[in-house]
Symmetry: C2
Amino acid sequence: MSFQRPHIEAMQGYVPGEQPQTTSVIKLNTNENPYPPSPLVQAALSQVDIATLRRYPPPTAKEFREVAATLHQVAPENIIPTNGGDELLRLVMTTFVGSEDIIAVTKPSYSLYPVLAEVQNTSLAEIELNDDWSMPDDFAQQLNTLGAKLAIVVNPHAPTGSFLSTEYLSALAAEFKGVLLIDEAYVDFIDPDKHYDSSPLINKHDNIILLRTLSKGYSLAGLRFGYGIGPESLISPMMFKTRDSYNTDLIAQKLATAALQSVAYAAETWDKVRASRATLTAQLEKLGLHTHPSQTNFLLCDIPENLGALALYEALKAQNILVRYFDQDRLRHRLRISVGTESENAALVDTLAALVSEAE
Amino acid sequence: MSFQRPHIEAMQGYVPGEQPQTTSVIKLNTNENPYPPSPLVQAALSQVDIATLRRYPPPTAKEFREVAATLHQVAPENIIPTNGGDELLRLVMTTFVGSEDIIAVTKPSYSLYPVLAEVQNTSLAEIELNDDWSMPDDFAQQLNTLGAKLAIVVNPHAPTGSFLSTEYLSALAAEFKGVLLIDEAYVDFIDPDKHYDSSPLINKHDNIILLRTLSKGYSLAGLRFGYGIGPESLISPMMFKTRDSYNTDLIAQKLATAALQSVAYAAETWDKVRASRATLTAQLEKLGLHTHPSQTNFLLCDIPENLGALALYEALKAQNILVRYFDQDRLRHRLRISVGTESENAALVDTLAALVSEAE
């Protein structure tokens, strides 16, 4: 006999991207920032006195909240620090969505959402993106017709790289009757000329939560640190009711704070990634590999039939280059490729060029 | 209008013990180990290269699982590493208990359990301990009559310090029809002559999960690291379905592994705490402050009416000594006092002696 709840017994778990613990692999499969974290993070680490670990950490991560609030020009009460962005996703579901309710996402989208909805035993409605990956015109109406309690929109979008403007999101929040969670995991890689600035939206709308993570922009995927930005009415119940009481540890708090304090360093890495993204896009195009315009640190790349996406993924892996293949509708003939360092990208392009010419 | 689920809207959050971020307070309120973590933990910290934080951590904390498995003479598949013991409590509820089910705990018990049950929207049955804090004879029958899906037993018990033998727990697991979670947060402070050894129980019973934490025994409350030990049938669904996919970070994994690898160092601190516990018990008794026999690193102390528990808590706080007062039935005339260093205990006893003689 099983002690598991029936819906847990029936479900499959999330399968994360491969995480080989070796440095010999060119790892372009889970969208890490290719550059190391800020030297200030190293300095913060060096200053950790392990004797201080004897005590519980600051329960509300006060210093981090203040630094994040300053960065986003909001109040500390508008910030909830979390154990990675994933924890915020779970907390939003736990706090605002019951098992009788509906969560709506776009299709395709981040493959963790359906798993979290299953854990929560909640129905998930998937709304198809248009052929060009843009949002359906009647997206807000569809959400309201469904009676969705929560909608999760990724911006810029994973796994396509598409971008929605601040104005679009503001109009969506105004029309949608539920909680709108905007997953901004890749926000730091948006071109500055897009003038994207979502933080002020949380003072205009009572139903918006922004998800931020230090995993990508700040090169700290290994640290597990994210945060939510939202009106206090949405942040406070997660902060003081549904969150595990000490959800972030002392070292992570200190390093995350140092990372935000050295945002200028991180911004230089974002510039480099954007420049490499443009170069890589052009190089792939030259090889006949079309990519969708991306505002993230990855490219969703169409793979011609003679190569085959799965076969190409495997051929690259055989040469120690990892990219991401999704066995999903509309993605089976594509690969998602993280933008690496210039030398990683060059190695990728060389390898792809050889594989393309072999297949001809 | 509120977007919160009705039962979340209605609930109060958990109120953790006070965590002043200063060293001028004698902090005997949240049961930290009074001694610093092992030098091996410091060494592990010094070896962290922040460049490695760029990538995601090992998703299953493989190395930690192996080291913990060796320590407990079980298989790595019997171990789930968690972001503090609190995360394990939540995962057990999420995985094994539905909102229509019942969780049973003893009364009194760890004050977080009712809060977690409320978040989960699950009924909580509280079974009164006997006058001497021992378990009711018919505890297992009561659990089965209730139809409890999950029972949480703290051993040694918080906030009383009481102890249950391995044999008692084995018999309980055999009789109880649901999942038995044994919260062993304070297990390291049990006297060796009790010969407590619960790990083998997970191979005898399919319904036992042991909760361990590095917060107390290993002086790492600030690190947020705990783990569960159980049969693979119970561990696996939490590990691969309901857990956040990267629930423990790279630094915490490395430091936690180092802590378990230097268990001999930690064991010396346990010896010191046990010796201090005996001394402090005798000193409090001399002051007319009776304590219940404790197998933990704290004492539950009866406070005479002329002093008053709340008044004494406040008088101690005014002199920079923090202890724990619980505004709960059967606890309102008691204080829970963590065993500190010899000098902290001496300061406490001196201050108490003065307050006791003032009240006479």
